[in-house]
């Protein structure tokens, strides 16, 4: 890869250190604020809602508008796989394992068929 030419061994470790620190800052800030939060209080509930809202936003963004490797797959494949998963989810009384396997199975088969040039 070209980046190996620009980036020496130690620079890459330094970059990892910066990225790791920049991620830990969120966690540590959360731990500092958590001191003031009462379990089951309104603030606790609100922060849980924020976390779920952010996670759902992240996941749906990755499915609909991915960057990187997932962006190399067609949107329709991701949506068909997701729909297959939710169909199974509804049919199997909200059991997550078969739903997940179906969604990934459908996605994998579609991706493989495209790789082989069938689709």
């Amino acid at each position: 890869m070209d980046s190996g030419v620009i980036w020496g061994k130690w620079e890459l470790w330094g970059l990892l250190g910066l990225v790791s620190f920049a991620t830990y800052v969120w966690r540590a800030t959360g731990a500092t604020i958590a001191v003031r939060i009462v379990p089951d209080g309104a603030m606790f509930q609100w922060f849980s809602c924020l976390a779920y809202g952010m996670l759902a936003g992240l996941i749906s963004r990755i499915i609909l508008l991915p960057v990187g490797i997932l962006a190399e797959t067609p949107l329709v494949d991701r949506l068909v796989a997701l729909a297959a998963g939710f169909l199974v989810f509804a049919a199997f009384k909200r059991n997550m394992l078969p739903s997940m396997i179906s969604a990934v199975g459908v996605f994998g088969v579609l991706a493989a068929l495209r790789d082989f040039g069938v689709l």
Binding site: W26, A34, V67, T73, A103, A112
Partner: protein
């Protein structure tokens, strides 16, 4: 309570966490981190950096942003900001998980380590199961669960890196997709009404806000979806409808 009995209980709680990890999370962590390891090698990141990043970043969206932006030769600041923003969810996640451990004085001292061990997986399971446990069992349960997931995650990254050349594209991309589907259905099984509302509103707003601002879309989505869900839930009251 006898100290010996408490110790035994804590130990059993730790083992309970390890057992819970092996029921499902570990397999998903393993598959996704193998996908990440393979992706890291294709991006030109060294073996050591790929493996260590799983332990020190410990958040797949941030890790993927890190290796993919590195591969295209993005500037340092852009890589750091993008990876960090992709992992911003850890802020509200820490705030909503740690209070569950506060009554346990011995565990509370380790809170800055607990948040480093926390992943979406272990957070979701702890939020779901810990409130039903005695307070002194919660942190050992979380420790067993998260340590197991992290060890398996690190080993799987190495394995994925090693096997990278042998994976066809559709396998690597399916392993990454597996991670996304796991969280989709893990969250679809959430039962608490305010959290479900936050999930639905967040899922609708996430892509829209991303189109407006790729950097700030996610935090705004979290704040607006979470706050709306919180107040709608309060309006609906205690009833089940």
């Amino acid at each position: 309570m006898e100290p010996a009995e408490a110790f035994d209980g804590r130990r059993r709680a730790f083992r309970g966490g390890v057992a819970a990890a092996f029921r499902m999370p570990v397999w998903v962590v393993s598959a996704s981190m193998m996908g990440f390891g393979s992706l890291a090698r294709d991006s030109g990141v060294s073996f050591g950096v790929a493996v260590v990043s799983t332990a020190t970043i410990w958040g797949l969206p941030g890790q993927i942003a890190f290796v993919e932006m590195f591969a295209v030769g993005a500037p340092v600041l852009a890589i750091v900001v993008a990876s960090s923003m992709a992992n911003m969810r850890f802020l509200p996640m820490s705030i909503s998980m740690l209070p569950l451990f506060r009554a346990d004085k011995a565990a509370w001292r380790w809170r800055y380590l607990f948040v480093a061990m926390m992943s979406v997986n272990t957070w979701a399971m702890t939020l779901r199961f810990a409130p039903g446990m005695p307070e002194q069992h919660r942190a050992p349960y979380f420790t067993g669960l998260s340590t197991t997931c992290m060890i398996v995650g690190v080993l799987s990254t190495g394995l994925g890196y090693y096997l990278a050349g042998t994976f066809p594209f559709y396998i690597t991309v399916s392993l990454i997709f597996l991670n996304i589907m796991y969280f989709t259905f893990l969250f679809a099984s959430v039962r608490q009404r305010n959290c479900l509302l936050a999930l639905m509103i967040g899922a609708a707003l996430g892509p829209l806000f991303h189109l407006i601002s790729p950097e700030w879309g996610l935090p705004f989505c979290g704040v607006i979806a979470g706050t709306a869900a919180f107040f709608i839930d309060q309006r609906l009251g205690d009833g089940h409808g």
